[in-house]
């Protein structure tokens, strides 16, 4: 799960803003992990299932787990999940993307 989350955060931040910023990625990844642990406890299992489904989407399309894809492929999976007809996939992607963006923009505000 941690590898998957870190990869999603990296893909989201790169998707939104060009070149990679490793310190930002780490900060955002750690925040997303903490927020995952803070979710209402009855949501812990569902978010894991949905996250594994997104990982499964990567396997289905590219025959590799999400973390093993290159950035272009990861962006494709992210965009596919974001616009999926399955609400839980859209929700999960919104969850990861929103938290990563919140860190990126808040970092500027805090500076």
């Amino acid at each position: 799960m941690s590898t998957f989350v870190r990869s999603v955060v990296r893909a989201v931040l790169a998707d939104a803003d060009g070149p990679a910023d490793e310190a930002l990625e780490t900060e955002a990844y750690l925040f997303v992990e903490r927020q995952l642990s803070r979710l209402p406890d009855f949501l812990h299992a569902p978010i894991r299932v949905v996250s594994r489904t997104i990982d499964g989407l990567a396997l289905a399309v590219y025959h590799k787990p999400f973390a093993a894809l290159d950035l272009r492929q990861q962006r494709y999976v992210v965009a596919t999940a974001r616009s999926s007809k399955v609400a839980s996939l859209r929700d999960a992607m919104r969850f990861y993307e929103s938290l990563a963006l919140f860190v990126r923009e808040g970092r500027v505000a805090d500076a």
Binding site: L39, R94, S98, L101, F102, R104, E105, G106
Partner: protein, 482 residues
């Protein structure tokens, strides 16, 4: 083996235990302690104060929001809501806007729920006392209002609608025109501690049970995997908010009319972009509101910090990419519906967190659609060049013709609705068939067990409820002490 009070640094048995230190709990505890009663306050979160984090920042979200702010009322139209989890409760994280309950609301509560002693004249001394303690006040000058608030007023004036500044609990010193927001950690918590009340933080109450002539409060300290504790008390005041209070009562087997009538103010938001800068790092939440269509619909200004604007622009990738160049020209606004739907707070064993469900009333869906359209008209009149509704699949609106199309594409189920006002989950009144507690907060059939928070309010206040919560909490605790 349960720990007892002494391991928490408090007596194993006390006269009064207050669960929660938010607006209802800290005010209740301060009055009990001032009257010489022995009081222990149990707070789920930490005692941090206003300065522990920048307002509306990630740090604040992590420190003071329950579940990191990731709480949702599930249903056909999901509503994201926010609860505090810190000493001082919601007063530590909100914008400090202050209203008294409209007279028509009090009349409705008296006639439909049989709430006694709830005339305006009954509440007036409580409003006034709280307003003095909280320094409820207006901005020192009209020019002190953020530009985004001035634009809302300009748009309302052009539309011929009523717009007004709402007072806030802000203290303005002669030497400091910016003022300082007030909260429970600035007022009633210091008061209660000075009067001898004990505040035990990071202590989660799981339930209460009757044992002889006393109530036993059960919980866990420092996280859910720590050892449980018990404290006995003759009187227990449950003040944990509109979600946690019914959850505690239902876990305790007290469920008659408890947690089944949760109400809230569903709110739809948008980001408006103007040709000039309208926002900066110090804008906070502007206190301008438009009440032309109240009580059904109200408009106001939302937090417009850069990270919150980013969240609201989630569906607009191009604007999001260009945020560094455009953020200062953007401000967030909301349209709030009265809230006629109802929800439920359920306990899901073995989980610790309650499940909240909510069903939007058809009238609210209509009010949100109309409210969004009217708000867009106001903001275009104020000079906005682009409007970004926080609604899945919504287009960018740039003209009156675009705004006219809102009625065609707006669906409440697709709107990312949110609320910060939750109430009515343990309604008060003498109409026993629909109420859970009597007019002064005692739980039916449970001598010595009281509720004193937003849960009590029988229906929507149609305005920010915290002024009403505090007035009723003061009225109730003084009646208890009589």
């Amino acid at each position: 083996m349960h720990e007892t009070g002494p391991s928490l640094g408090v007596p194993a048995s006390d006269d009064c235990v207050v669960i929660g230190s938010g607006p209802g709990g800290s005010l209740t505890a301060a009055h009990l302690a001032a009257a010489g009663r022995s009081v222990t306050v149990l707070e789920d979160g930490a005692h941090l104060g206003l300065d522990s984090a920048r307002a509306f920042s990630r740090d604040e979200m992590e420190q003071k929001y329950r579940n990191g702010g990731l709480t949702v009322a599930f249903g056909p139209s999901r509503v994201q809501y926010v609860e505090a989890r810190c000493a001082g409760g919601g007063s530590e994280i909100n914008s400090g806007l202050y209203h008294r309950a409209p007279p028509a609301v009090l009349e409705h509560w008296r006639s439909e729920f049989g709430v006694e002693h709830l005339e305006e004249s009954d509440l007036l001394p409580h409003y006034e006392a709280n307003e003095r303690r909280l320094s409820v006040s207006y901005l020192p000058s009209e020019q002190a209002a953020p530009r985004s608030a001035q634009l809302m007023r300009l748009g309302a004036t052009k539309m011929g609608w009523e717009s007004r500044e709402v007072p806030r609990w802000f203290r303005y010193d002669a030497s400091d025109d910016g003022g300082r927001r007030q909260s429970m950690t600035e007022t009633f918590i210091p008061d209660m501690l000075q009067q001898g009340a004990r505040l035990v933080t990071e202590t989660r109450v799981t339930g209460v049970t009757r044992r002889g002539t006393q109530w036993v409060v059960c919980g866990r300290r420092n996280g859910r995997y720590s050892e449980p504790f018990e404290i006995a008390a003759r009187n227990v005041f449950v003040c944990a908010g509109a979600v946690q209070t019914p959850a505690i009562l239902r876990r305790s087997g007290i469920d008659r009319n408890v947690g089944k009538t949760l109400r809230l103010h569903p709110t739809v938001q948008l980001v408006a972009e103007f040709p000039e800068d309208v926002t900066d790092e110090n804008s906070g939440v502007p206190s301008e509101q438009v009440k032309q269509f109240a009580p059904e619909i109200s408009f106001g200004c939302s937090i417009s910090s850069r990270e919150y604007v980013a969240l609201k622009l989630y569906g607009f990738r191009e604007a999001l990419r260009d945020l560094p160049n455009r953020w200062r020209r953007m401000a967030a606004y909301y349209a709030m519906a009265q809230g006629s739907g109802t929800g439920e707070v359920r306990v899901l064993r073995p989980f610790a967190d309650p499940l909240v469900t909510y069903r939007l009333a058809p009238s609210d869906a209509g009010h949100l659609r109309r409210g969004l359209r009217l708000l867009c008209e106001l903001l275009l009149a104020a000079g906005a060049v682009a409007l970004y509704p926080v609604v899945a699949g919504a287009p960018i609106l740039r003209s009156a013709a675009d705004v006219a199309g809102v009625d065609e594409w707006f669906e409440a189920s697709g709107a990312n609705l949110m609320t910060i006002h939750l109430f009515s989950s343990v309604p008060m009144g003498e109409a026993r068939e629909r109420c859970a507690v009597v007019s002064f907060g005692r739980v039916y059939g449970c001598d010595g067990l009281y509720v004193a928070d937003a849960s009590l309010l029988p229906t929507s206040t149609t305005v920010n409820p915290q002024g009403t919560i505090r007035a009723i909490a003061r009225r109730n605790v003084l009646e208890f002490l009589r």
